[in-house]
Structure formats: structure tokens, C-alpha cells
Symmetry: C2
Subunit: 144 residues, 2 copies
DNA sequence: TATAAATAGGACAATTTTATCCTATTTAAT
DNA sequence: ATTAAATAGGATAAAATTGTCCTATTTATA
């Protein structure tokens, strides 16, 4: 469904959001531990998210990653997925035709656009804040 | 969503089904042309589908690929996807956790299983025959 | 029986994705 | 000022996926 980079990106952003709500900035090392991801690879993903203004990075000692409260509420999963995997999830043909096109549809087009659209809606309606709900209480998990 | 191999597999099977309904067996070369896929790579995919008894292959001159009428009606997309991409589509966690598990769910679990299940249902309810409807009349397409 | 057409399959190559390593830069704190 | 902790980013490596090439085998037909 999503690339590894994207999966790490969502999990990392969610963890950063959780800690930002508690008022603390988190280091790459801590993030990678908490989401069980390869450190250096996660760094690349976070660079990309930082360039896309999804997370804020602070360099130097006591630096780290954080997300403003406004952004925790406003940023949706759809933006993270788009920043990392591009728009293929939203616009690609289920059978890999070069363009998904209702005028010359592949045999699964009608059924596929329905599912793709449900996925899109889900991603567009799930904020980082939504993602953090239940994490603190251990009702949901970002690793294992 | 699906691997290239899987996309080619679905398109190839659909084309074979179409021609089998017309009573003719088709060669690898023709298949690759009609679904716009790399010939040798498609051969590998078809080998796999043949081993999984999704398509029948006939060696030798005037050989080729075909699917019995019974199978055209009975084989569902779900079986093709499973034969090539395995069960990750059906059971994998949307955020890449090692196991999707309702007891220790990731933050998108509830929403994701719904979409995954819709996709699964769609694949389980779409037969190769369904895929061929509209192809002959050009209402649907397997290439471009 | 010889030939040609077709799939099977092994070996390899190219590309993309995933992952690691090292150095540069920034910044707080000593 | 120095040091230590942190991100940025370039270079590289490893692994997985995608794609190609060549030979073996099978089989209909001339
Ligand atoms: S053309 Fe294939 S999903 Fe739209
Ligand atoms: S645990 Fe992530 S989708 Fe089920």
C-alpha cells in the first residue's frame, strides 16, 4: 500500500505529535527507537517531511523534531503520504495503466476508484491529533 | 497497491480469459502486446500463474495459454493477487507493523481494516469473466 | 524425421527501494 | 572558546523488484 519510507514517516510524525502535545521536542534517535525504524533512513524521511513543513526540525544541542499544536490539528495523513509517495495512491490505476481515466477505463476502474476514494477520504480526514488518541494509554501502538 | 508483476498477471489473465471465451489459445507474445507488458517478465508471471493453476499452459507448436470456461467463472482476482503478491494485501498493517493485530492496533487500524476489507471483498467477488465484460466492445481497456 | 513454434527455466542485468556511513553544520551549555 | 549533542546531506551499499537473454524442452506439422 504505502512505501516503507511513508510508513516510517507516518509513524514518526505521529510520535513527534504525541510528544509535542506534551511540550517536548524529540531526537531522531528517540523517534527511531519508539517506532522501531532504522535510524539513518528515518532521518532522510524526516528531512523530507521537514522540507514539506510537516514537521519542524531544530538543529544543535537540545534540538530535535517537533510539530506545532496548530499543525497537529491541521495536518492530515493525506499530506504525509503525498509528501513521500506522491499522488499515485490517489490517482494511479489499480491495474497499472499509465493513466487512470474514466474515458478509457481498465476493467476494475469503477470498483477501484470507489476503494481508492474511501482511502483518500480516510487519509484526508485523519489528523495527526487523531493519530495520537489512545497512544498514551497504550490503546494503540507504533511498534511491534 | 499491487506489484508490477501482479498488475501484469491480472491483465494477462484477463486477456487470456477473453480469448479463451472465443475458443482460442494465445501466445505469450500476443499477450504481452495486447496488455503492453515486457515479454520475458510476463513469461515469469505466467509461469507462476500456471503453477497456481490459474492459467493453463500448453507447450509446443500451436501451444499457448488458456483458461477453462469453468475457471473463467470461478477464478477471482483475489486468487491472482494472492498467488503473486501473497497475503500482505489482505493481512498487512497499513503502517507497516509486523503484524496487524486488533489487540495491539496501530492508530489507523480500525479505519484501515475497513478499507482493506472492502478491497478484499471486491477482489473476492470479481471473477475473470467479470473482467472480460466490456473488453470486446472497447468499453474497457487493458493497455495505455 | 526434421523443422519450426511455443513454453520452462536458469543466469544475469538494470533499476528502484531501503539502509548505512561519514562529514559538515548548527547550537546549547560548560 | 571548547565541547558535546543534534540535524543536514552526500556518498555508498545492500536488498528487492523489475526486466532481459539464452538454452532446454515440448509438440504440431510438413
Ligand atoms: S483505469 Fe484502472 S483504475 Fe481507473
Ligand atoms: S495494526 Fe495497523 S492496520 Fe491493523
Amino acid at each position: 500500500m504505502f512505501s516503507k519510507a511513508c510508513e516510517y514517516g507516518i509513524r514518526a510524525s505521529t510520535y513527534i505529535a504525541l510528544k509535542s502535545l506534551e511540550g517536548t521536542r524529540v531526537s531522531l534517535k528517540e523517534i527511531a527507537e519508539k517506532i522501531d525504524s532504522p535510524v539513518a533512513f528515518t532521518a532522510k524521511v524526516l528531512q523530507q517531511l521537514s522540507k514539506n513543513h510537516i514537521v519542524d526540525s531544530v538543529k544543535g544541542a537540545s534540538g530535535g523534531f517537533q510539530i506545532t499544536k496548530a499543525n497537529i490539528n491541521q495536518i492530515k495523513l493525506a499530506q504525509i503520504v503525498f509528501a513521500i509517495d506522491g499522488n499515485n495512491v490517489y490517482e494511479g490505476c489499480g491495474l497499472g495503466l499509465k493513466k487512470c481515466n474514466a474515458n478509457e477505463p481498465c476493467p476494475v476502474h469503477d470498483k477501484f476508484v470507489q476503494i481508492r476514494s474511501d482511502l483518500k477520504n480516510m487519509l484526508e480526514n485523519t489528523s495527526l491529533y487523531d493519530m495520537t488518541i489512545g497512544l498514551e494509554e497504550g490503546l494503540t501502538s507504533l511498534r511491534r
